[in-house]
Symmetry: D2
Subunit: 277 residues, 4 copies
């Protein structure tokens, strides 16, 4: 599938600020960036870096006082792998690749060490893909999607109790349950096709049968319409922007369009992965 994605972010900087951006689409086997443009109105240099282990792409900018408009646009071809949900088993801990095992550890927003008893009781009888589907169904049915109900310090522990949140909270809770059950899981920030209102989106991936499969407990957009930006343990290391200084809350405009007319991106029931095995 081919998408045109992009964003415009405006910053009002009051004193020199270092900004680290993570808005560019990942390159990889399941997702190819055909062309892209990154620009900043003030013309300051934007140092770029790709993390080898994750493929996350960072830009570091030193913004001086004043207004800065950052624009990014890209044409991205995704080649999702479609699996049969019924045929995707869980990988025993003893057989997990070592580099995947770290995604079983609790993290800032995903205290999987605290929700194990509930997770085993609620989801313990399912297996593999079915388990994570059950997790997503439970979240969708028990947590209200409610703008403004959470903030940057809200973790899965809070969301489980308060029962309200936004996409990042839904992803954190899904990750937490999966890890508690011995399924490696990680956070994914993405451009999402057919999301209303358009914005950066957050979903999660679970490691099953040798692949990272995408899951979205919000049911707000098709799972095969995602263009991945970053992967991480949770939102703490996958923010689209981090800054060190003083700046006015950014106004971000996000855009995702479908460029081809091939079938797909309409709520597939297949399991979807953008990672290589």
């Amino acid at each position: 599938m081919r998408f045109s994605v992009g964003c415009e972010i405006q910053y009002d900087v009051s004193e020199e600020t270092t900004l680290i951006l993570n808005v560019e689409a990942q390159h990889g086997e399941g997702q190819e960036v055909l062309d892209e443009q990154f620009s900043i109105s003030s013309g300051v240099p934007a140092e770029s870096h790709i993390v080898p282990e994750t493929g996350n792409r960072y830009r570091r900018l030193k913004l001086n006082a004043g207004q800065h408009l950052i624009s990014y646009s890209a044409t991205v071809e995704t080649r999702p792998y479609f699996g049969d949900p019924a045929l995707i088993p869980q990988v025993p801990i003893a057989e997990l690749p070592f580099e995947v095992i770290t995604h079983l550890s609790p993290s800032r927003y995903c205290q999987s060490d605290k929700l194990g008893r509930f997770a085993w009781r609620q989801f313990g009888n399912a297996n593999g893909y079915e388990t994570v589907t059950a997790i997503c169904n439970w979240i969708y049915e028990n947590v209200d999607y409610l703008e403004g109900s959470s903030d940057g310090s809200t973790s899965a522990y809070d969301t489980f109790t308060l029962r309200a949140g936004v996409c990042r909270d839904f992803a954190h809770l899904g990750i937490t349950f999966a890890r508690a059950l011995g399924i490696p899981a990680r956070f994914v920030s993405a451009y999402a096709y057919d999301l209303t209102p358009q914005d950066f989106h957050a979903v999660f991936e679970a490691y099953l049968d040798g692949r990272w499969y995408l899951f979205d407990a919000t049911r707000r957009c098709p799972i095969d319409g995602l263009v991945r930006i970053a992967i991480g343990r949770d939102a703490a290391d996958s923010a689209f922007a981090t800054y060190f200084g003083q700046l006015g809350g950014p106004a971000a405009l996000v855009r995702v369009e479908r460029l081809d007319s091939q079938p797909g991106t309409d709520w597939t029931v297949a399991a979807v992965s953008l990672s290589s095995p």
Copy 2:
């Protein structure tokens, strides 16, 4: 400095359990393993893995029901870099290596996003090495070292309020303050010379002037008598053992001896690093 280190850990396994151990000394420029032995009484195979980015060394064992005695011993030569504390400035965010920046993010046990106001007020006037020294002094003076006062779910947020903890809590609090101030910091598990009673130890490293310097807010052993086992974001990914199954609380016996008689390891006032720049 040359050390003989080792541990013996006994497990009573009641049903098949996958155990992931992380007790072997790191190889690297600042620390060389001259010889070592790893054995398990039951003779089950122990798959081994070294994480390229961290140098952490894992063993994965599938233990069947019964008793298992694991023994590790090594002769390790450390070649600490000694710096002058007065000449170790902080690295501006704009100049930090990208791979180091991730150690500014909050993590499971180090909610640096919540303690920023206190950290800036308390330590905001210091700079570089002096800042982290001030952090360690504050922790030593304000937190009681008290066995049994914390458990596996205790985070820096709790320790800051409860004012009691053990070595891992002291390390978590130090990491949290450093990150809140824009200084990358990470968790270090180690064999520690001259620690009484002998046990695995936890300290932390802060990234200053292009190196990771070691800090120990507990003041329980000399900072240049450490042999590093693992580095990580916090205890969540640096545990000496993680298991998935049923087993009896391990009895661990840890041993650290000095083999050479050269000066050092007696409470140096120098800044100490075991990492390459």
Copy 3:
């Protein structure tokens, strides 16, 4: 019903300590103390006080260093009011007695302000006695009764997430849900007939149809076999002992026997109240 109840508590005091005990059975319309004895081996005076609003009975003792054995025994006649669960509606806020309204407020261990969304979603369709029964059923089915799984700082917020606790945690969670739904609820400490192993017990009361009805989500003993000791907002003001000083963890021996042979105390399905309307 007639019960013989009592307790023996031994304290090893290392320095002068003020102890406030709350172990004596309440006097009142639904529960009459026929005879009772309170003694302390060291013979120190035990100042006594009854709180007018609650009927709670306190003893204050100034214990000097040494061993102290406290004994209490009483013969108590309870005259429970039995109501028909199907005929016990909720009282609208607009009609609640003012002195009852305070039991809608969140308290130390019952953060009803945080669990409202869940409570309404889960129990919002029931009414009156049926609502609180649904609450108790849910707790029984979803929380594991597990000695040692909680401590003095565990609140309903934690229990809801961790899904394990003891009688006081079960009571706190029940109170929290009830308050969140606009049903006044309070904590009750009690002697409980047929509880194994014998110990002080904790249940809760909800205010319905003009009375305080007893509820016990643990299902560990018959609800009409209770002798009330104290009522309060939660365990923070209903502890059986509070001390200010240094003393060795008390060893308590609790005893409850049935003295009459009339029917009852065998798991009634009626609604039970020991309060006057």
Copy 4:
């Protein structure tokens, strides 16, 4: 001192709502209401109740859909007791009146059970009035007064860590430290003279030398310019308004004027109490 106090609160009610107001000045020995008026634009009846133990005055109103303007105004004569801070000792637990002891218990927003270690270390060497002054000084110096930094779920535990809050958070933290040190303390909502901007205010009282003395860690208005509305364990049972239904966030206008011209109300250094001994 004589004050004219009052408030106007406007509610936009979308469905029938029961409102419980607590905005009327307390009657008592230290504070006399000379005249007062309570009215509601829609003319609905306002049932009134005075709690015997506290003197708190409640109004219960059943508001139907529509707009309601509530007005209260009163002329109040306060007769503060002025004590000499140097001569106000702490009351030993063994001598506290029983009805005061309950104010040593932790409550929803004042987890005194968790901050004891810090409190003893920081304030443990002071005694009596001096202790509570030290508490207030510490709060003033270490916590930023910052509108919008806290919300209805913020407790003393959070404020201690986050180091920012508003008047109710300052009061909660003061109460928490006092209780942790064995000094009974309670929450006070009040009309406050010379507060800018004018609003309902929250302070706390500590029980010392047989009286409840007023303390305000915010230093935002004179302590002898207060007219007490309610006392309680913490904000959970001292809110100026509680409602059960749907209504638009109230717009409240508070007014406090000095009517006499006698000296006082200008930052006395005396200890001030409005309670009878």
